[in-house]
Symmetry: C2
Subunit: 337 residues, 2 copies
DNA sequence: CTGAAAGCGCTAACAG
DNA sequence: CTGTTAGCGCTTTCAG
C-alpha cells in the first residue's frame, strides 16, 4: 500500500498536522523539520491522495479541471479546432499540477445536473467549449458558481474568443482586393460569435464601399450534416449571383467543394469560397482554402490562465480575452475582372 | 452543500450502512426500504462522492479511466488517429459510468512514477496509446498491476491492434495490380507493429512473385519532423529506383508530396506513394492518398471492453483483439506499364 | 434484513 | 513553531 502522512509523521517524530502543513505551505514550520519531512517523503515515495484532500479540505479541490465539450458525440474531440484548444489547455494546467477530465454530456432528460457531476468528482473548475447554448442543462451549468471559463460564449463572465469581427472583415477586404463584390455570407445565427462575425462582414463591406444587401446573408446551420448543401443552395438562389460564398467554417467549406462540383461549379474557376478556423486540412488540400486562422494555442493557454487565476483567487483585470487571428490566403478564391 | 447518505438515512429512518448497501447493490435489503431510499435520494438530488468512495472502499475505485498518450506534446490529442480512438473509448466507458482523464507524461527524470500518479487519483485502470516503449518510466508503468490495456503494444498482456500485416500485404497487392514492382517500404523499426507490417510487406511481395531485395526496406522514423524528407531521400538513393514509396503513416505521406515536388517529382505522375491510418485529411486532399484505414471506432470500443472486463473481474477469453482494416484506393498511385 | 462503530488519508480550528 | 481533536462522506466488519 502507498505511504501516507502517518508514515511520514512517525518517521519524523511529529504529528500529521505538521506534515500536512509542509505540503500545503501554510503555518510556520522550522527549516530543519521541513527538510526532514520532505526528505522522508521522497524517500518513502509519498504522493498525496487527491481523494482524501478533496474530502477533508473545505475547498474540496481535487486538482482536476473538467472539460465540457458540447459538439456532436461523433465529432467531439476529433474536431481539430477543439482538440488543439484542449491540448494547449492541458499542457498549461499540467504545469500547475492540474489534470483534465471530460465531463459527460448531460441530456435534457438526465436526472443528473452538471453541479452534481462536478461535486461528485471534486472538480475544481470547468472549461466550456460548446455550441449548445439553449438547453436547460446548459443554463443550469452556466448559473452555478463553479469557477468556469468558456470559449466563444460571449455572455459568460469569463471567456476567451477570437477576433471574429476583424477576421471576417479582413476576409472581405481580401475578397474585394481580388475583385469580388457579389458576396454571400453564410451566417449560422447562433449567439454572440455569429453576431460579431456578421458585424465584421457588414463593416468590411462598408469600408470597401460595397452596398449591403440583406440577401447577401444566408442563414444556415453550422458544422451539421448537410450544412454545406443547404447553405450553398440558398446562396445560389439568393438572387445576387454570388462570385464567392463565405462559409462559417472550414469543414463546411471543404465539403461544399464536391457539392458545388456535382452541380457543375468548379472552385475557384466558377465560384470562389472561404472558410473559417484554419484547420490543417484546409491548407493541405487542393484547392487550399482562404480562411481565418484561429490561434488555438493561445486560446487554450488563456482559458487555462483565466481559470487558474479564479482557482487561486487572484485578481483578474481582464475577464474577456480576445485572441488575434490571421488571414490565410489560398487557392479557393480566384482573382476576377 | 450537497446531500449525503446521512441526509438520506435520516429521512428514511435507517442507518447509513443500509443506504450504502442499496447503492452498492450488496447485502439483503427489503424491497420497500430500497424503494424508499432510492426515492429519497432522487428527491434530494443525491450524488455519490467519488472521493469519499475512493477513500473508504478497499478497491479505491474512483470510476476514472486514465489515458496515457505518449506522442509528442505538440501533436498529442490533435492526432486524428488517437483522438478518434479516445473519443470512441470515452463514449464506451461513459456508458458504464466511468469518466476519462489524461495522465501527465512523466519524463525519465521525474521523481513521480505512474503508479503514484494513478494511486493519487484513485484511477481504476489505464489505456495506453504510446510510441515510447523504451523509457524507464514506461517500463515501470507496464510492470505495475494496474488494470491496463494498450493500443499497438504487442508485448502487453491486453492489447488492441489492427490487422497491420494484412493491411500492408493488401497494399502491395494493389500496387502490383497497378503495375508496380520497384517498391520502397519505409519501416519505422519500432517494436511489434512495425515488425508485423514488414512481414506483410514481405508476404505481399512473395504472393505476387516479386523477389525481395533488402534495399527495398528503408529505415526511417515515424511521425517525427522531417520524417518525410529522410525517408524520401533514402528511398530515392536506395538503388532500386522505386516507382512507389510506401510511407508508414498518412501525415508523413502527405508531407512527402511537397518535398517530392521540391525535388522535381510530381505525385503520382513521376512517383506513386501510399500512407497508413486513413485520416480524413488523406482522403479529402488532392491527390487523395492510397492508404490503409484503421477502424478507430472499433479500436476504442475494444480497448474499453477489455479494460472494463478487467475492472469487473470478468473472465476474458481473448486478451488480444485484432481489428480488421480497409484498403482505401486513391489518386496517389498511378497505373504504369 | 438492519445497524453500530471504526477507519480510509487528509485538513482545520484551536490550544499550547 | 507544533500537536490534539474532530470530521469530510463513505465502506466494512461484525453483531444483532
Amino acid at each position: 500500500m502507498a505511504c501516507t502522512i502517518y508514515d511520514i509523521a512517525k518517521k519524523c517524530n511529529c504529528s500529521t498536522t505538521t506534515v500536512s502543513k509542509v505540503f500545503n505551505n501554510v503555518g510556520k514550520i522550522s527549516k530543519e523539520k521541513k527538510k526532514e519531512i520532505l526528505d522522508a517523503a521522497s524517500e518513502l515515495g509519498y504522493v498525496r491522495s487527491h481523494s482524501a484532500i478533496s474530502l477533508a479540505s473545505s475547498s474540496r479541490s481535487n486538482h482536476l479541471i473538467g472539460v465540457v465539450l458540447h459538439i456532436s458525440e461523433e465529432k467531439s474531440i476529433t474536431h481539430e479546432l477543439f482538440s488543439e484548444i484542449i491540448n494547449s489547455l492541458r499542457i498549461e494546467v499540467e504545469k500547475e499540477g492540474y489534470d483534465i477530465c471530460f465531463l459527460r454530456n448531460l441530456k435534457s432528460d438526465d436526472k443528473l445536473t452538471y453541479t452534481q457531476l462536478v461535486n461528485s468528482r471534486g472538480i475544481d473548475g470547468i472549461v466550456i467549449l460548446s455550441m449548445e447554448t439553449e438547453s436547460k442543462k446548459f443554463t443550469q451549468l452556466m448559473n452555478t458558481d463553479i469557477p468556469k471559463v468558456s470559449f466563444d460564449l460571449l455572455n459568460s463572465e469569463y471567456y476567451v474568443t477570437s477576433m471574429n469581427k476583424e477576421g471576417v472583415a479582413g476576409l472581405v477586404d481580401y475578397l474585394v482586393s481580388m475583385g469580388h463584390t457579389r458576396i454571400c455570407y453564410v451566417n449560422p445565427d447562433t449567439g454572440g460569435v455569429a453576431k460579431k462575425r456578421l458585424e465584421g462582414f457588414i463593416e468590411g463591406l462598408a469600408k470597401n464601399n460595397i452596398p449591403f444587401d440583406s440577401r447577401m446573408v444566408i442563414k444556415a446551420p453550422y458544422y451539421s450534416t448537410g450544412a454545406a448543401k443547404i447553405a450553398t443552395d440558398k446562396a445560389l438562389n439568393s438572387g445576387i449571383e454570388p462570385t464567392v460564398i463565405m462559409y462559417p467554417d472550414d469543414y463546411t467549406a471543404v465539403s461544399a467543394i464536391p457539392y458545388l462540383r456535382s452541380i457543375g461549379l468548379k472552385v475557384p474557376n466558377d465560384i470562389s469560397i472561404t472558410g473559417f478556423d484554419g484547420v490543417e486540412l484546409s491548407q493541405v488540400m487542393r484547392p487550399s482554402i482562404v480562411t481565418v486562422k484561429q490561434d488555438t494555442k493561445e486560446i487554450g493557454k488563456n482559458c487555462a490562465k483565466l481559470l487558474l487565476k479564479q482557482l487561486k483567487k487572484q485578481e483578474i483585470e481582464k475577464r474577456h480575452v480576445i485572441v488575434p487571428v490571421q488571414i490565410l490566403k489560398g487557392e479557393s478564391v480566384k482573382k476576377i475582372n
